[in-house]
Symmetry: C2
Subunit: 359 residues, 2 copies
């Protein structure tokens, strides 16, 4: 049976001042009436029922996520005691789904990407499931055809076409690549042989656990300790102790680089990682002046600017070019688009100054 | 006896979103703990007692002004039924002070200028009073030595030095000049013979009323009707009717251009009309990065920018140059400094859209 595992561990400093430690990006309504994690669950439609959908997040966010997703089972939200990257998260989830379903197939996906349309996404996951069923030890990934030489994503170097009856968009994976520098990114784009790594995977839960056992023995041992405490009153203490002891590592490093039977599906859906305020222009579109506005705004001689205002608060812009203005009840960000990356610096300095109310 | 007449009729759209119809510039604390009108009263010190200080404003602001100035007499705040420029305002005030003091000398001044230091200002008003006492029909004005070729002020063309024992900074006025264009403003500045018209005047109340009677017979007749109703239960109705019927005209046009015995004192005090958000930089100074900040602010790579935030609200700026960011509880302005004049356009468009909460 197919299970959905939604990874919701991001802290989302990039969307300050809307995103905070307690309300990271996946909990925000950035581009619609539903939050990103709600949209991610909605997107599954009939593909996976609520009983087979789980969320892995950090403990601090677990309550807020449960509140946003009342249809999920009470044990469907797993709170990690600390941040340890994707491999421990995925191992924890694999053990979770295996408890009731030894043949479980997992579709793993981030909680904070925009993917459209829903039916194309569901069809793509079905295709991946078929590929996994055809070769039980197989790992299936989704690659996004790059639209520009991005340096902020990992890449997947595709090999020969798989020649699979499920579709002509399936290839063997030749190699996973880390985030490249500008030169490499340009080469990847020009070659036509590289995809952005979407972070969406489909595999048998057993397959990924076996791979972790083979390539990450220490990590696997910690996971085994955690799993053996399941159902006992020691579980939380063991989870805390063992998970904390794990060395953080991404699933790409932990498993992908060693795996042999890995396929990549060229994603047939639209995908956006919503990595920054500038993504809003892609998602919401722009008006004639190139502005993207969410909330109450009056612009005079304003172009290429993103405005996001909360509630009834009015933002007025005069003579702005290529700026970002975000108003939250307790804080306002005004940034030059070309300086948006410095938002991490802002969060760092807020920490430094002890202005914890804003973190 | 010397009376102070403070003209507080401005609507202050230039300080939107802090200034609104109900809280114009003179009621704001733009550059300190006290509002501009409070500071204007404070500045009089021992020169004029509270009993001889009056405010002429529009009716809508009268209550707010009374609240800010509890030491004033209950009839010291005169609310005009409508806006009719400075001449009717001054005529009304002249009649007011003449009721109890037929020899009253009036010092007329705007409520919304910054003047420093207080003692130099008081000394200058004393000098003007002496000049008026020496020649009872005389009108004394204050001229500000221009520091740049401003097009936003009226100018006073000085004539020969008065050779008065009160000081070497007194001249006959040759001519009052309207706001000039750039070419004329540059000529005025270069000549060294022109002052900015500060809008501060000293005269016998009787002198200015006689001048209005002579040069503005119709206006004077309306003022006479109003004054004759003083103390009757018809007063408010008559004020409403007669004042509304007056054609608005400035004191410069109404009287100054016709008057013969007019002196100008080169102001020995620092003066700023606080005409725009940019004035804050002059008044508050700037930090090493050229920023002027009032309120809670964190700036990264921000220069030449003015930030004004209310209460505890945090404003963060990233990569801004020469901007103005003003946060009020219900609205935020983000403007390019070079576009600040367009703020009038903003207020016009808010009216157009019927967003009256923001006006």
């Amino acid at each position: 049976m197919l299970h959905a595992v939604i990874m919701a561990g991001g802290s989302g400093t990039r969307f300050w001042p809307l995103s905070r430690a307690a309300t990271p990006k996946q909990l925000l309504r950035l581009a619609g009436q539903r939050s990103m994690i709600q949209t991610t669950v909605d997107r599954l439609g009939d593909l996976v029922s609520a009983e087979r959908t789980m969320i892995v997040t950090n403990r601090r966010q677990a309550a807020a996520i449960a509140e946003q997703l009342p249809s999920l089972a009470s044990d469907a939200i797993v709170g990690e005691p600390c941040k340890r990257d994707t491999a421990p998260c995925i191992g924890l989830a694999a053990n979770h789904v295996l408890r009731d379903d030894p043949d479980a197939i997992m579709a793993v996906m981030p909680a904070d990407h925009v993917i459209r349309p829903d039916d194309v996404f569901q069809q793509a996951i079905r295709q991946a499931t078929t590929l996994v069923e055809a070769s039980p030890g197989r790992i299936v990934t989704f690659g996004i055809k790059p639209s520009y030489p991005a340096e902020i994503f990992g890449y997947i170097h595709r090999g020969e076409a798989l020649g699979d009856p499920s579709g002509s968009n399936v290839y063997r994976v030749q190699q996973f690549r880390e985030k490249p520098d500008a030169v490499a990114a340009a080469e990847y784009l020009a070659s036509g042989q590289y995809y952005w790594n979407s972070g969406i995977f489909v595999w048998h839960a057993r397959t990924i656990l076996d791979a972790l056992a083979e390539h990450q023995a220490e990590l696997f041992e910690h996971l085994k300790q955690i799993e053996s405490a399941w159902g006992t009153d020691q579980y939380n203490a063991v989870l805390e102790r063992e998970f904390t002891a794990i060395r953080g590592i991404s699933i790409d490093y932990a498993v992908m680089e060693h795996a042999t039977d890995v396929a990549v599906i060229e994603a047939p859906f639209d995908w956006d990682d919503v990595g920054s305020w500038q993504s809003l222009s892609r998602l919401q579109g722009t008006d004639d002046a190139g502005n993207t506005v969410i909330g109450r705004h009056l612009g005079v001689n304003t172009r290429g600017t993103i405005v996001r205002s909360d509630g009834d608060h009015l933002v007025v812009t005069l003579g702005l070019r290529d700026c970002i203005v975000v108003h939250a009840p307790d804080a306002t960000l005004v940034a030059n688009k070309h300086d948006e990356e410095s938002i991490r610096e802002v969060v760092r300095r807020l920490e430094e100054q002890g202005w914890n109310d804003f973190l």
